[in-house]
Symmetry: D3
Subunit: 158 residues, 6 copies
């Protein structure tokens, strides 16, 4: 049985993230979604909120579990006994930093990273762009899952 | 059990290819190395020679099988019931065309491609550069497996 | 009134090309589709066939005219009194050579090139990949307009 | 009549920006320069100052109007009834984020973005590099219009 | 006699930096390592500490001198009468901003920048990634010189 | 005394090549221009013609010598006792293949390659684009040195 780890900030989860997790499910037996506890940048949602949003989105999928973690990704991956890290690749800007990170993680622990190509029609969706659209009052319809859209609307109305 | 397909021209197989196949073995249960029968460009080695070189290199690894195929990659992948296509990514030049190919293959058949980051110290090794070095009389030591080095020397001495 | 020139080999026209021409129509008053008479690479369709396929695809759009041309693009653009050249951009591989060409054309004649972002879901479609899929017996459904699909099937059955 | 919108922070306007606006004028009938009111990063010049600098630079060009705007770019574009957004492309680093933004804006409102290639000899000029040069006491001659150079000198002498 | 300037933040110096300085030594007679006094980002080590770490690493190499500088790089290069600026290039993300900087420096002072390709096996090492690994408690072995490793450990234990 | 080798096909030499050689002269004591005897692609000019064109262009510069060579670049560099290989970098498309070549040459012989940024206003000039412009009857004025322009005109009038 092969277990894949999909790590990320997920602040908030987008349709691009959901697509990557679904692709990981098509290849691997189990998928652990690892939510970075304290991302370096100011987050809009707490790690509890981000875990809970992803759990709602995947509530009908047995083979997915969602958790938050702190510290080095490779140590968390070791504790969880995952076989591989899975990341999505949207474009060239992603590629360079993701490749660097994958090689660093391999250096630190020997773990492999495998990249899946995201659905091209999600290529322009990023969490930061979604937050900017929401902050400026635009609709996030078809950019994020409906559960996340509600949470963004709730943040906005405060 | 998860079976991965590593397709390529392998004309000739390099240390970069061997690295990608070894990484696929670290993630998946079985690896099928699919040698493209008639690559579009003039090949130095026949498809029989390329299959046989790869079989020699992996003669001690049970979980690898090497075959050649003709026609559409996705149809071959379907006939072989593989779960995923695995490709190595060296740099940005690779990335753009590989992403395009992965999205086309997903469009044609729904099959996923996953990319593994190659060992950074093999990043500059490509089959075409190896052939050019060999053709101009340079040493291919540490660029290709020793079996391939012998085959290149034999080609050169004809 | 602003007239835009969409030049290309169109061997064959793809859904990506059609998308770029439609985007040019959304911005400019008239669009001239300029089919390169003798592309440097071996073409599958003659320039007459490529013009005729594009005319069929756009038969209901008044503001599009399709022609073939020979010689320097900027001289053709000058003879046709177009205001701007329009090209689609899919990814980074495109970008570098297209930018170089745009700057060369500006140097030669002062004409501006403007790039439109293609529909992300067409990003992986190129004429050469379409020809390879067709040549290997794959379906070109949703990759090219139905008129082109028929023409590809006709080529294949010969 | 076709109206183009050239949006940006313009903190401060550079010779690269002026070149893009001039190229937009060569293609379109009217150009609206839209100055982002509150850019995310700390700005050196207020939005009033940035509008006023651009108005000075284009004081002799009838077909240009300069305004600041707040909120979503696509909503501003809708209120102003512009036909197209025009951006300059300098290099690959620009390209990826600009393409993403263009596709997001098209998703949100259907508006097209067209990219013009900037004068290659302005390719290395960015507002942030200009500010760094000015802050460290270097000359901004030939990097920004003379009006902006004066404003930078005035800021520096405070 | 040709003197090269290797400028950088070196916060902290990595094996990648050491590799670039060694390559500069293989080409040029003298190498001045110029440590940027006040990097724009928050630094982990003071400029005195960074100078002193580099001096320790190169204590046995006569032809290297290490200094810190403030203000414009090109003015410092002028005061020091260096013949050329030398930078390492790891990947495409580096390339775009480094090229822009090199062209700006040439514009400001006429000085040339020459780029050396870093050892591919150091390509994934950056100061910021090293700091993140150290901050999260990972080992920086084989990422930085042993002198720097000690300094990172000392910072961590405070 | 430091000797740099500027290798290339130079079919034909362009203003971009001349710029790179001049930049090498600004850094190094002597420059050897190494003309590849038999480039892989069909050449417009023989190696004798290409050597002779470059000699004419640099006839007033003592510190440049122009020669053709066959076989491996690194072996030629060894025979000529050059200290470093110098290449120009125009853009990202160049970068990836040039970096790969530099790392291969370092692997084969330990020789360093240093890259100089070309004048941004020459960035769009390549030998192949120049040949295409000339072949289609366009003017190569300001793209190539006047000596090369004459040679291109002479080829065309045959």
């Amino acid at each position: 049985m092969t277990t894949a780890l999909c790590p990320g900030s997920f602040d908030p989860p987008t349709n691009g993230h959901v697509d990557v997790i679904r692709r990981a499910l098509a290849i691997f037996d189990e998928v652990v979604v690892g939510v970075i506890g304290n991302p370096s940048k100011n987050s809009m949602f707490s790690s509890e909120e981000r875990v809970s949003l992803l759990q709602e989105v995947f509530r009908d999928v047995d083979r997915v579990s969602v958790e938050s973690f702190d510290g080095l990704l490779v140590e968390y991956a070791g504790r969880r006994h995952v076989d591989v890290i899975v990341k999505g690749l949207r474009g060239v800007a992603d590629f360079d930093s993701e490749l660097q990170m994958a090689q660093m993680n391999h250096h630190l622990s020997g773990i492999e990273t495998c990249f899946v190509a995201t659905n091209p029609s999600h290529g322009y969706i990023s969490s930061s762009l979604v937050k900017e659209v929401a902050r400026l009052g635009g609709s996030t319809d078809r950019l994020v899952p409906v559960e996340v859209q509600k949470a963004l609307d709730a943040k906005g109305s405060k």
